[in-house]
């Protein structure tokens, strides 16, 4: 009987391939070829679920930030210019063909680390309905309190109209209470919302 250990010993005893140029080229080529083929298959296999997961996240964020709707905001989306070269994506929400709100994917670069992405929902009159964080890399325990899962901080924006509600932290003369020990993150959050509001009002149909 050939058990696993004997098989292993046989493999060890197999003669070691010598380091000639031809052997090295062949070995590396074969390994790279097998690897890339495998990865190609795995990529094809996971491509669908990955884009589904991304879409689901976006749709969920839209559902949170605008009132109940009946259309598919993802299909009706359009782009509006902002004060930066990157344009903002808008997802209008209709209930029985009346506009009930618009979700805008906005961003800010003045955060503590990478770019922050938010989904901000405006009612047709410009009032903020709700905000959801899409992506951020702020400090865990401090700046990440902007996320609803971590704290209720972001609820202070709900129901405010930026016409009278100044989207700046109190330190800079605005109306936004900054997160304790995370003024920079709060400033970025307020800037992103402000960017979305200005772009929305400027491009209102």
């Amino acid at each position: 009987m050939l058990n696993l250990n004997d098989l292993g010993r046989l493999l060890i005893m197999a003669k070691k391939t010598e380091s000639t140029l031809k052997n090295m080229l062949v070995a590396l080529f074969v390994i790279a070829f097998i690897s890339s083929t495998t990865l190609g298959y795995v990529y094809e296999f996971t491509k669908g679920p990955i884009s589904d997961a991304r879409l689901k996240k976006k749709v969920e964020a839209i559902k949170i930030v605008v009132p109940e709707f009946t259309n598919n905001p993802n299909l009706d989306s359009y782009k509006i210019p902002s004060d930066m070269p990157d344009s903002l994506e808008c997802y209008p929400a209709y209930k029985d063909s009346t506009l009930v709100g618009t979700a805008i994917r906005t961003f800010s670069d003045i955060g503590f680390s990478k770019r922050i992405y938010l989904m901000v929902g405006f009612l047709p009159n410009g009032t903020i309905h709700n905000i959801s964080v899409l992506e951020h890399s702020e400090t865990p325990g401090l700046g990440d309190k902007m996320d609803k899962k971590k704290s209720k901080w972001s609820e202070q924006f709900n129901g405010k109209n930026p016409e009278s509600y100044k989207l700046k932290v109190t330190k800079d003369g605005g109306n936004v209470d900054a997160i304790t020990a995370a003024t920079i993150s709060s400033r970025a959050y307020a800037q992103a919302v402000d960017r979305a509001y200005k772009a929305y009002m400027a491009n209102k149909k």
Binding site: L4, G8, L11, T17, E18, M24, L28, G48, I50, G141
Partner: protein, 195 residues
């Protein structure tokens, strides 16, 4: 060395993090909570077992002079498989660990085991070694994450038992070093008693 020993040595005697001090970057970076530590540990375990198996299978076919690039390609393949799979099926987890998953490629534990163990031993032993070292790594990361989560946010595996903030420093980088230091001290104590 007995087969059982191959698996258990990764937990205390040769624990990658607490005794060999390998792979400290993901250790310190991902262990802000117990579940993150566990997930990172299990992802590394999977890659370690798979790469140990393959390296051990092809070791006599790879010329010595190109063994390192060959091992790296094998490891990177499995890491990418893990990355794509996590992104597709557990996107919430991927968001937290995303940055650290590609770094598994350069985790010294994996190349270290491929070079020091799998390229010299048979397939079965290599799988056991990968399993042991990987679970030991996961074990250390989970403990580290649990302690930081309890002290830093008053919760364990996401379940809050303490209202309020806890000691923030433990969620931040300095807390990782503090807790790791104490864990290393405790491990040394246990190991020196055994010896």
């Amino acid at each position: 060395m007995s087969k059982i020993n191959l698996v258990t040595k990764g937990f205390l005697k040769e624990n990658a993090v607490l005794v060999l001090f390998l792979g400290l970057c993901p250790t310190l970076g991902t262990t802000t909570s117990a579940i993150n530590g566990l997930a990172m540990g299990l992802a590394t375990t999977f890659v370690l077992i798979m790469s140990n198996t393959v390296v051990s299978l092809v070791k006599s076919l790879i010329p010595d002079m190109v063994r390192i690039p060959a091992f790296i390609v094998i490891i990177a393949t499995f890491v990418t498989v893990v990355e794509l799979t996590m992104q597709a099926f557990v996107p919430e987890l991927f968001e937290v660990l995303g940055l650290f998953i590609p770094l598994i490629v350069v985790n010294c534990i994996i190349l270290g085991r491929a070079e020091a163990f799998a390229s010299k031993n048979n397939v079965f032993d290599s799988i056991l070694d990968g399993l042991g070292m990987g679970l030991g790594f996961a074990f250390a990361l989970t403990i580290l994450g649990a302690i930081r989560e309890i002290l830093g946010s008053g919760a364990i595996f996401g379940m809050k038992f303490f209202s309020g903030d806890g000691m923030l420093v433990f969620v931040l980088a300095p807390g990782a070093f503090l807790v790791l230091g104490y864990l290393i001290a405790i491990t040394n104590k246990i190991n020196s008693k055994k010896a």
